[in-house]
């Protein structure tokens, strides 16, 4: 039986179709999960995709964390369920306290959509095993509230514990310590602002490329799950 990876749709989610496609491209079975349904339908991992859940009207991700599906995701994540939060999904993970810190309005105040150079800092999380530490990759960002922030002690902890997963080479939004993505201590929960699901096909990925640097996020979890 193939591995099942769930992708949650909240009202206002935008990149769910892209995440489902990325899951299918690496050979896993994509499973659409609905925000009102607490049943995770026996998925082996969960992706929280990008978008503007519930319109992001209170604070990005602030309402989504209280949805029935998130209760199950939070409980599962604490017991080791692999969870990847992308963009709005990262914001939801921070609001859910599965990851520390918060995402605030970009330094330039504007929404920014561009291909961003990143460095993979940790290849030991469940979602980054197919990268090598120090590897430079290109993955798009597109957000208005992508500036990572946390108190200095938290930032020091993240550094010391190797939980900074990806960094910007050319910080686009004023994120603390160039942080683009982080992990929980166990490495099963990863959140990042860049969109690996938009860098999985030569036809539609970053131009002039490399176009498919996002794929290893999805192949990594697959290998991890097969090995487990």
């Amino acid at each position: 039986m193939s591995l099942r990876i769930g992708v949650i749709t909240f009202p206002g989610t935008q990149d769910d179709q892209d995440a489902l496609r990325a899951v299918a491209l690496v050979g896993a079975e994509p499973v659409a999960l609905w925000h009102r349904d607490p049943d995770l339908h026996q998925v082996d991992a969960v992706v929280l995709p990008g978008g503007f859940s519930y319109g992001d009207y209170l604070r990005a991700g602030a309402i989504a964390r209280f949805s029935p599906v998130m209760e199950s995701v939070i409980a599962g994540a604490r017991e080791g369920l692999p969870v990847l939060g992308i963009c709005n999904g990262f914001q939801v993970l921070c609001e859910s306290h599965l990851l520390p810190g918060a995402l605030i309005r970009n330094g330039g105040l504007l929404f920014v959509n561009r291909d961003e150079k990143l460095r993979v800092e940790s290849a030991t999380t469940q979602w980054t095993g197919d990268y090598t530490a120090g590897q430079e990759i290109v993955i798009p960002i597109k957000n208005g509230e992508g500036r990572y922030t946390a108190d200095p002690r938290t930032l020091d902890e993240l550094e010391a514990e190797g939980r900074i997963v990806v960094r910007y080479l050319d910080n686009p939004n004023g994120s603390a310590r160039d942080i683009a993505g982080i992990a929980n201590p166990a490495g099963n929960v990863v959140g990042l602002m860049p969109h690996p699901e938009h860098a999985v096909e030569e036809l539609t990925g970053p131009y002039p490329g490399p176009a498919t640097d996002g794929l290893p996020f999805f192949t990594s979890i697959l290998k991890q799950l097969v090995a487990a």
Binding site: P11, G12, T13, Q14, D15, Q17, D18, R21, R36, G51, F52, Y54, G55, D56, Y57, L110, F111, V112, N113, R114, P140, K142, H195, E197, H198, E201, L203, T204, P208
Partner: protein, 758 residues
């Protein structure tokens, strides 16, 4: 279903009262209704209208909704339409629908939101996106992309700095939140648009051919459901006040008339509607756009069995104090109206509940031929809906060629001082490249999401936007919009044809076959006979050109009254062309891809600088005639570009238009990060060769191995082709004239927008 709204203290003007008080004076002129139009209403009804009926006639017979000044000219798009077998729905519905092959159909349309975007840039532009997307959704399609052709006043004018950033944020803020990729458009500056920016919005959607929906209320006894956002006081009179009034100094602010958008509501409404369509739960559907409930009820009723009873007090309100006249005119966003058989109502409501969408049955389809509305039991509207929807006034507005037209055309650019030396040409290249209309638009397009949904093959910076429709077959579509107000001012007939020719060429340059057209016709006041002449000439030119190129107009929009203090904008028809490509992997980019590839110039270059970007930037000059149009040549060029793409002969292709050959070469070089060595044809003056805007041209790069096959094809088909250089190095060099490193070109190209708006 919510309880009935509490009845406000309000003296209702019923049909009975109206019949009994024929002499009452009504404020019809304040609502934009002319005395003869009012007389016509009295004649139709056989009594005076109730105030609710008057509100409905005023909005439905407004220029914006009735096309009363343009109708007689727009008729040509039907009369002269080319015979094609792919047009599934033509003009008149919410949007045209085109068969793109397999079981798929594509619907697309462009609309204007010019006046609201001047008054309130963010909300005006945002709701412009929202409105056109709902038109596409209403056809039964999933919206899959948007594009925004924009025109602003001079780039350095203070008001442009109020309008442009707001418009761009509004388009991004709304479109990004809908999860729709923005795949193209234009940003053009000209002082003629100061006070009258053009904010046009195009949307495209895809559906199965069998799933096309129409705005028709059939079947007596079927329920009329209003769903989506609640009705509020925003945008009351938006259509009839804003779209029909010009901006003269000293009039009170019209800010409250601009609608306020909620993209989250619209995103939810889209997904909800698509699930409703998938289960085939509606008989007919209409979005609420301009003229809100008035328009939706009358158009559904007029196109269906013919009658409808509506209990207006059941409409869910955001503001309980609204009176019927206001509810009927409100342009609150994110609302839809559906006609549903009684058996399917409960499932319809289940899906609305799933998406937390408010839905209310407010009426029933009847076979009475009357649209009747009640307010707490009293009849306030009783009309034949066809008189509102189809029998509005039609004007044969007088028009004549402006007295100044001859003088304008006589002011040819021949005597303008031209760069002669290599150094002067080099300077001109850099100056043009950095000028606002030709500069890199990264500052704007980085605020738009072009990636979402994962099917964007080409977007901003390419000749056309391209989307994959089907991941199995790799079938795709391409879209480009173009329009040149300066050309159209010099010669409206030719200018409109050039707009079509350029969009057509842009689609073909990416490898797609142009199929069909949507147009947004932006003009001054139709009451000015000179503007009306521009309109008559432009529509005639466009219709004639569509016939030659075999690309029918499937729908569009007219925006009049784009003028301030009696000074109209340049006539600006914006033309959108939809093309289809069998395999998106075969697309052609404009970037130079490989060193050593041969550069070929296709088409003929003439000394044509009337209305050119060079005359505009360097001399602030506008006069003479625009470039000549040869539509048969355009068709041949397109066929060659498509064949070159399909057979894998091209490594890059770029259409030549604003700024001429050198602009195109530099854009291809910068995008590919590869330079070029250019040898200009001997018979041409270097300045003319580099900057002329002759139409019907493109520059292509071909691998050496393909050069002969490609040039043989051109010669055999009779398309002029000239070898003009090679892709090479890290500079753009024009032999014997100048060389400019890519870094220097990039700095000039990308510095302008951040310096102006950053």
């Amino acid at each position: 279903m919510p309880a009935q709204n509490e009845k406000p203290k309000y003296s209702v003007d019923t049909v009975e009262t109206a019949a009994g008080t024929p002499g009452v004076e009504q404020p019809y002129e304040a609502l934009g209704v002319k005395p003869d139009e009012y007389a016509r209403i009295l004649e139709i009804l056989g009594r005076r209208p109730t105030s609710s009926e008057l509100a409905m006639y005023s909005v439905m017979w407004s220029e914006h909704c009735s096309y009363k000044s343009s109708k007689v000219h727009l008729k040509q798009f039907g009369d002269k339409a080319p015979e094609v077998d792919f047009l599934l729905v033509g003009p008149g519905e919410n949007a045209g629908v085109v068969d793109v092959g397999g079981d798929l159909a594509v619907t697309f349309k462009i609309e204007s939101h010019n006046h609201p975007s001047y008054v309130e840039p963010y909300q005006g532009a945002a709701t412009g996106v929202g409105g056109i997307v709902r038109d596409i959704l209403t056809m039964g399609a999933r919206p899959i992309a948007v594009m925004d052709p924009l025109r602003f006043g001079a780039a350095d004018a203070p008001d442009t700095h109020r309008v442009l950033p707001g418009v761009v944020r509004g388009i991004g803020g709304y479109g990004n939140s809908l999860g729709l990729p923005n795949i193209g458009g234009e940003v053009v500056f000209d002082s003629c648009y100061a006070g009258n920016p053009l904010v046009n919005a195009l949307a495209v959607g895809v559906m199965k051919k069998s799933e096309i929906k129409l705005a028709q209320a059939h079947g007596p006894g079927n329920k009329v459901v209003l769903f989506g956002a609640r009705t509020g006081g925003d945008g009351i009179g938006g259509a009839s006040v804003l779209a029909s009034a010009t901006f003269d100094d000293g009039k009170p602010s019209k800010r409250p008339s601009v609608q306020v958008g909620d993209p989250f509501m619209e995103k939810v409404l889209i997904e909800c509607c698509l699930e409703i369509f998938a289960e085939d739960l509606v008989v007919g559907i209409q979005d609420l756009g301009a003229a809100g409930l008035s328009c939706a009820t009358t158009e559904l009723a007029a196109a269906g069995t013919g009658g409808m009873d509506v209990q207006l007090d059941l409409a869910p309100l955001r503001d309980a104090t609204l009176v019927p006249e206001e509810i009927l005119m409100s342009e609150s966003q994110e609302r839809m109206m559906a006609v549903v058989t009684p058996a399917k109502v409960s499932r319809f409501f289940e899906l609305c509940e799933k998406w937390d969408v408010t839905a209310t049955v407010i009426g029933t389809v009847t076979d009475t031929g009357r649209l009747r509305m009640t307010w707490h039991g009293e009849t306030i509207v009783d009309v034949d809906p066809k008189t509102l929807a189809h029998q509005g006034p039609v004007y044969q507005r007088p028009y004549h060629r402006p007295a100044w037209q001859d003088e304008l055309q006589a002011a040819v650019p021949d005597s303008l001082s031209r760069p002669k030396t290599g150094e002067e040409l080099r300077e001109t290249v850099l100056r043009m490249l950095a000028s606002p209309n030709l500069a890199d638009k990264g500052w704007v397009i980085e605020q738009y999401d072009h990636r979402v949904r994962g099917n964007t093959v080409l977007a901003h910076g390419e000749d056309s936007g391209m989307l994959r429709l089907d991941a199995e077959s790799n079938l795709g579509i391409a879209l480009a919009t173009d329009g040149n107000g300066r050309y159209t001012k010099l010669d409206p007939y030719t200018g409109a044809q050039l707009a079509l020719a350029e969009a057509y060429r842009n689609v073909a340059a990416t490898g797609a076959k142009p199929l069909a057209v949507t147009d947004c016709l932006n003009f001054g006041s139709p009451e000015d006979p000179e503007v009306m002449w521009q309109f008559a000439e432009a529509t005639r030119g466009l219709a004639d050109a569509c016939l030659v190129l075999g690309t029918p107009v499937t729908g569009g929009n007219v925006s009049f009254y784009n003028q301030t203090n009696n000074v109209p904008i340049h006539p600006t028809p914006i033309v959108g062309v939809l093309g289809v490509i069998d395999d998106v992997n075969r697309r052609t980019r404009l970037a130079f891809a490989d060193e050593g590839d041969i550069l070929l110039l296709l088409g003929e270059t003439r000394d044509e600088f009337g209305g050119s970007e060079w005359a505009h930037v360097v001399h602030g000059h506008l006069g003479g005639l625009p470039p000549k149009v040869d539509l048969e040549r355009e068709r041949l060029l397109a066929e060659i570009l498509i064949a070159g793409s399909r057979d894998g002969m091209l490594s890059a292709a770029h259409d030549l238009s604003d700024g001429g050959l050198i602009q195109a070469v530099v854009e291809s070089a910068l995008r590919g990060g590869l330079g070029a060595r250019v040898v200009l044809p001997e018979e041409l003056d270097p300045f003319v060769a580099l900057f002329s805007e002759s139409a019907g041209r493109a520059v292509v790069a071909v691998p050496r191995s393909e050069e002969l096959r490609f040039t043989d094809m051109c010669r055999f088909r009779g398309l002029p082709v000239a070898r003009i250089g090679v892709v090479d190095g890290d500079a753009v060099e024009v032999q014997g004239q100048f060389s400019i490193p890519l870094d220097e070109l990039r700095r000039a190209h990308t510095g302008t927008f951040p310096a102006l708006f950053g």
